[in-house]
């Protein structure tokens, strides 16, 4: 009896969580955070991707961001292994991978997405930098 209730509750909660997660994942949100970087910035903007070893969508995200960087003049794509830069991960409060930051020419974080962002959304975000 209690097992059947647990099945119903678990599948219900998981469905709600899954829908909300799918809706939120990869959405770019506006930010305004100053940060110091130890890599060369793109002339116009830089796409910073935090990845990890146990991250399935990191590979697809890498492909999308590399394509955007190749397509849009003055944009660089930089991928950071989150595990090897935990102090930076804590400082920027990064909780999951992939996390994508859009930096302006001065290195200020202007957009942020948790999860894999869509190509069109990244290009649109670059238009606002």
């Amino acid at each position: 009896m209690s097992g059947a209730a647990a099945v119903a509750v678990t599948l219900g909660l998981a469905t709600v969580f899954g829908l909300v997660h799918r809706w939120r994942s990869g959405r770019l949100k506006e930010q305004d955070v100053r940060a110091e970087w130890d890599f060369e910035l793109g002339e116009r903007a830089t796409l910073v991707q935090f990845s990890s070893a146990f991250c399935a969508p990191c590979r697809a995200t890498r492909r999308v961001l590399a394509e955007v960087a190749a397509m849009v003049e003055g944009v660089r794509h930089v991928e950071i292994d989150a595990e090897s830069r935990l102090e930076l991960v804590r400082e920027l409060n990064i909780l999951k991978t992939p996390t994508v930051l859009v930096l302006d020419a001065s290195g200020r974080i202007v957009q942020r997405a948790s999860g894999q962002p869509g190509k069109a959304d990244v290009i649109a975000a670059l238009g606002r930098v």
Binding site: A6, R59, T97
Partner: protein, 143 residues
């Protein structure tokens, strides 16, 4: 090692069905069998995973080759998380602790169901949080 991502989703669906059966019957033997399946995935790789072998033998020949392959590390990590919950569930059921057993099994079911239906990546969500917590507490103990 690269794997067919559809096989991984198939395995998650079979895992979900097995875990629902465990919750409905309260059978610790069935949960122990699922724990063994998780353990094979974790320790021997997904190439040897029983549900993956079932997928390769029965389902993939009808689907054709995959559009792209994925790294096996993320789902292998998820199998490890499943193993921990399954072992906790087996311990609970065999000791007669009803609610702890049901709770642990429910977590495993939730993760498998999210993976099967939404392609949810457990490693993406959990790995960094675990990493952020563990080395910090260790490094703070070092003078």
């Amino acid at each position: 090692m690269e794997i067919d991502p559809r096989g991984q989703r198939f395995s998650a669906a079979v895992t979900s069905i097995v875990l629902v059966a465990v919750l409905l019957t309260g059978s610790w033997v069935l949960l122990a069998a699922q724990a063994v399946v998780f353990a094979i995935g974790v320790f021997f790789g997904l190439r040897h995973h029983p549900y993956g072998l079932l997928y390769a033998a029965v389902v993939r020949p009808r689907l054709g080759p995959p559009a792209e392959l994925e790294d096996e590390s993320p789902p292998r990590f998820a199998q490890g998380v499943g193993l921990v919950f399954a072992l906790a569930g087996v311990a609970g059921y065999s000791l007669g602790l009803g609610w702890p057993a049901i709770t642990a099994t429910s977590f495993a079911l939730g993760a498998a169901f999210l993976n099967a239906v939404f392609g949810f990546c457990l490693g993406c969500e959990m790995f960094l949080i675990i990493k952020r917590v563990i080395p910090k507490s260790i490094s703070e103990e070092v003078p």
